[in-house]
């Protein structure tokens, strides 16, 4: 008996060690996580950390110097292209490894490996969408060009040089929390990351919902509520630009019975409402300095670690500054010695759906024949479970995304195949390679013509005084209406036709109006010869054009103000109409109190404005009420657009039914929500909307919320709850380039670093950092320096 008791402490110790080193469900191995040497504490970085470093790295060709400024922005100076991208890869991995690893795994549908089978549906969606297929196609194109191949090879080698130095102790904290390990980087992972962006920016599935809506409504009604082209827009390409002529003639429109599929669905899934962005450029005629000023603020998911990583990259033939995407080589948005550029999403539809008619289990009907599917086996590894195999059938149109075994939106069971520009080979890496090195307008045009998907409005300014914008991407010469709804997949007339030559893409170069602005609005006026559709947003464009039209002698400060502008065009148009329907003696005291707040309101969604909250709540209620009868179950995103609703409201359109009744009822319905907000002391607009910058895991202690920032998706400063300006940049193209920027994050992805969210405060306040851009021969003023040399040399 005593002997039995004697071994108890040994048993206890072993059990405790076992318990502490094994993950339990979603709880990580606590002993490893809390280990004071190799656990989370290894990520606690001294606030006085000396970042100076001397490195010897395998595969580097010559010496490289990295000078970090006080914001930890690296200025890389390399002797050749290979070393430049190698070092960029090493830096991205050093500061951001976990996010780039996770995002590329997500892009390729491999999240189940980490999270188990709760991510299986997500992974299957990614595979069925053809994400990996598309990345493989693009990788072929990227590796076929020696410039982009070298760029990718060097970048991958740099990342792996860093990964090879890691042990459990030095893994980013998130690996320890989620219990997985970094894996070697590949060029395919970079290609996947670019497809991830393409998916984020062109991945809409509205075609399917519109198909159902079209069958629900009469043609007149449909045209009135979902106009192909909204009236009163300020297109991206100004009216006075050179008119584009078409080298291709429009294809014949097939008969309706041939063209379209009919679907029924009971409910709808929709993706997050549009991601907006603004960019504009003023020519010298409109600026105080006489030099162009270029501005860009792409709106993307607000996450930590930030999507962006700021960098200056210098080597023979290149000296570029801007933001890069960890996971992809080069600078995405920025400027060099001579030019500056920025992107907003173009929103022309490059993803179309086809209803497939199966002929047998292995064939489908196409052009009067039976065609065999081409199968692609997708193996999905699942943590703690056996592998899952999904066979994705490819038709002549593309992968069958939805079918009986994988339902689409609204429980759609019909097989639906997708044709998507992101499936086609394209070399965006080469576009960035050339763009980063461009010295003038012609070089910029030659560079961006390699950028095929996601299509972007690429704005441009240079030191010679040129300003320009191209609506760049690869587009298809479609017949009128093609791809607006789900098409009949059995007929060849619905297949995508010829590519429109990229040189015929919409563009403006030094237009007479002296400025160009894009904010995801309609791209062209009716003189553009090719038919297209898309998901366009007009409010920010209306505001930006209103301001810029009257801008003279602009300074960079004026541009800061415009990027942070929170004037609601919607409110300024609809609130006066709403108020005319209110009869003062028919409302309650509570209602009157809230209406009084709106009395002196200037239509600005300022952070502390309570009137802004009142309007936003009231409008949301009104919008829902107006469409409740006709579109009861349909989510807001698929109802007629707010722009169209605003127009119909002002026109007192009969399509809206009893407007006065809706206005009064919606005010009444708003009071409850407003009272609740008031009680919780959340009536101020920034509290009511709660703009948050969340860690990619959504873990609250790693995130920031209740940020005191105004605006909404329809104001220039488009700070929504979890989306917003992801990088604000203003560049004045004088003899010396004057550049300013800020993003809501910090250079380090480490939650234990003081550089984790360093820039957030300034971003919230609408302030900017002056960017330290050094000429190629200047020696950067360095806070920290890395000297990197090849190993064994």
């Amino acid at each position: 008996m005593r002997k039995v008791i004697a071994i108890l402490p040994l048993v206890f110790t072993s059990l405790l060690v076992y318990f502490l080193t094994k993950p339990m469900g979603s709880i990580p191995a606590l002993g490893k996580l809390l280990d004071p040497v190799v656990g989370c504490w290894a990520s606690a970085e001294s606030v006085n950390k000396n970042y100076n470093n001397k490195l010897k790295l395998d595969g580097l060709k010559k010496g490289v110097t990295v000078s970090f400024d006080e914001r930890l922005v690296p200025h890389i100076k390399a002797g050749n292209d290979y070393d430049l991208y190698y070092t960029q890869g090493y830096l991205h991995a050093y500061f951001r490894l976990w996010q780039m690893d996770l995002q590329t795994r997500a892009a390729g549908g491999r999240v189940s490996e980490i999270l188990g089978d709760k991510a299986l549906k997500f992974d299957r969606t990614q595979r069925r969408k053809g994400m990996v297929y598309g990345a493989e196609q693009s990788l072929k194109a990227m590796e076929a060009d020696p410039r982009s191949k070298q760029m990718l090879d060097a970048y991958t080698a740099g990342i792996n040089a860093y990964i090879n130095t890691l042990s459990f102790k030095t893994y980013p904290l998130e690996y320890k929390l989620a219990g997985f390990e970094p894996e070697p980087w590949t060029n395919l992972k970079s290609a996947l990351l670019l497809k991830y962006m393409a998916d984020d920016l062109t991945g809409y599935t509205e075609d399917i919902a519109l198909t159902v809506l079209r069958d629900m409504l009469s043609p007149e009604e449909f045209a009135a509520l979902y106009p192909e082209r909204l009236h009163g827009v300020n297109p991206v390409i100004p009216h006075d630009s050179v008119k584009q002529t078409a080298s291709l003639s429009a294809p014949a429109i097939p008969a309706d019975s041939i063209a379209w599929a009919h679907l029924t669905a009971t409910d709808f899934e929709v993706e997050e409402e549009g991601k907006g962005s603004n960019n504009w450029v003023l020519g010298g005629s409109r600026t105080k300095s006489g030099k162009p000023i270029l501005c860009n603020d792409p709106h993307l998911g607000l996450n930590l670690p930030s999507l962006w990583y700021e960098v200056q990259m210098t080597a023979p033939g290149i000296n570029v500054y801007g933001v890069s995407l960890p996971g992809s080589p080069g600078v995405i948005i920025g400027f060099n010695d001579n030019i500056s550029w920025g992107f907003t999403n173009n929103y022309r539809d490059v993803k179309d759906f086809y209803a497939i008619q199966p002929a047998s289990a292995t064939t489908y009907k196409f052009a009067g024949k039976e065609q065999p599917y081409i199968n692609r086996a997708e193996k999905i590894s699942i943590k703690g479970k056996p592998d899952y195999y999904d066979t994705v059938k490819y038709t002549v149109q593309g992968p069958v995304m939805y079918e009986e075994t994988f339902h689409g939106p609204g429980g759609l069971k019909k097989p639906i195949a997708v044709t998507w520009m992101a499936h086609r080979p394209s070399n965006e890496v080469l576009a960035l390679y050339m763009l980063n090195r461009s010295g003038n307008y012609n070089e910029y045009v030659a560079a961006i013509h390699n950028f095929l998907c996601p299509a972007q409005n690429m704005i441009y300014a240079d030191r010679h005084g040129d300003i320009a914008l191209w609506g760049q991407g690869q587009f298809i010469n479609k017949w009128r209406g093609q791809g607006r709804y789900v098409m009949n997949g059995a007929d060849s007339a619905t297949l995508w036709g010829q590519n429109i030559p990229v040189a015929e893409n919409p563009h403006a170069h030094n237009p007479a109006q002296g400025y160009i602005a894009s904010a995801n609005q309609t791209v062209t006026d009716t003189t553009y010869p090719y038919w297209y559709n898309g998901y366009f947003y007009e409010f920010r464009s209306w505001r930006i054009n209103d301001v810029l039209r009257n801008t003279r002698n602009a300074t960079v400060e004026d541009m800061f103000a415009l990027q942070n502008d929170v004037f609601s065009v919607l409110a300024s148009n609809v609130l006066p109409v709403m108020l005319t329907h209110i009869t003062p003696n028919e409302i309650t005291d509570k209602e009157r109190n809230y209406l009084n707040m709106l009395g002196s309101w200037d239509y600005r969604l300022m952070a502390e404005s309570k009137a802004a909250t009142v309007f936003q709540v009231w409008w949301a209620n009104l919008y829902a009420t107006l469409w409740a009868k006709r579109f009861g179950k349909i989510p807001d995103q698929l109802k007629p657009s707010p722009e169209r609703t605003m127009q119909l409201l002002k026109e007192e359109s009969p399509y809206l039914g009893n407007i006065k009744g809706a206005v009064v009822a919606s005010l009444r319905n708003s009071i409850d929500s407003l009272e609740k907000l008031k009680k919780a002391d959340r009536l101020e607009w920034y509290k009511a909307k709660n703009t948050s910058v969340k860690h990619l895991t959504k873990l609250a202690p790693f995130s920031y919320s209740d940020l005191k920032i105004g605006g909404w998706g329809n104001t220039v400063n488009a700070a929504k709850t979890d989306h917003g300006p992801s990088w604000r940049m203003v560049v004045q193209m004088g003899d010396a380039i004057e550049a300013y920027g800020v993003y809501p994050g910090g250079q380090s992805g480490n939650v234990g670093s003081k550089y984790y969210a360093t820039f957030l405060d300034k971003w919230v306040k609408g302030e900017y950092y002056k960017l330290s851009f050094y000429t190629a021969d200047a020696k950067p003023a360095a806070t920290y320096t890395w000297s990197i040399n090849p190993k064994n040399k």
Partner: protein, 117 residues
């Protein structure tokens, strides 16, 4: 009492050296075990000594990281575990080390007895 204190200090000093190549958890298991095997000590005192030694060792190791970090990481980790502040997180963390060290010390004492028979 004096012995407990001296042995604890030995654990801390050895631990600080071993931390260069060994994880905190393995030190918490190995150090008290090995030391107590080589001592004649009652199980209760062995537990106390192991507990104190490793708790102190972990506290020192943690403070070395936490103080220069201005509690950035520990505050965030405290949030993850639902603890009110970084001090509580450190306390929980240190107690965990102590428990490991105590059990391991007790095991050492028991093994010592077994070998002597």
């Amino acid at each position: 009492m004096k012995q407990t204190f001296i042995v604890s200090i030995i654990i801390v000093v050895l631990g600080l050296i071993f931390s260069l190549f060994m994880s905190g958890m393995w030190m918490a298991v190995v150090l008290p075990l090995v030391i107590m095997i080589s001592m004649q000590i009652t199980g209760r005192r062995a537990f106390g000594t192991g507990f104190l030694g490793v708790a102190l060792l972990w506290l020192v190791l943690i403070l070395i990281k936490d103080v220069p970090n201005h509690h950035i990481l520990s505050s965030r980790m405290a949030g993850l575990l639902g603890l009110p502040n970084s001090a509580m997180f450190i306390l929980v963390n240190v107690l965990l080390g102590g428990l490991l060290g105590g059990l391991s010390g007790w095991s050492g004492a028991v093994l010592n007895k077994a070998f002597r028979k």
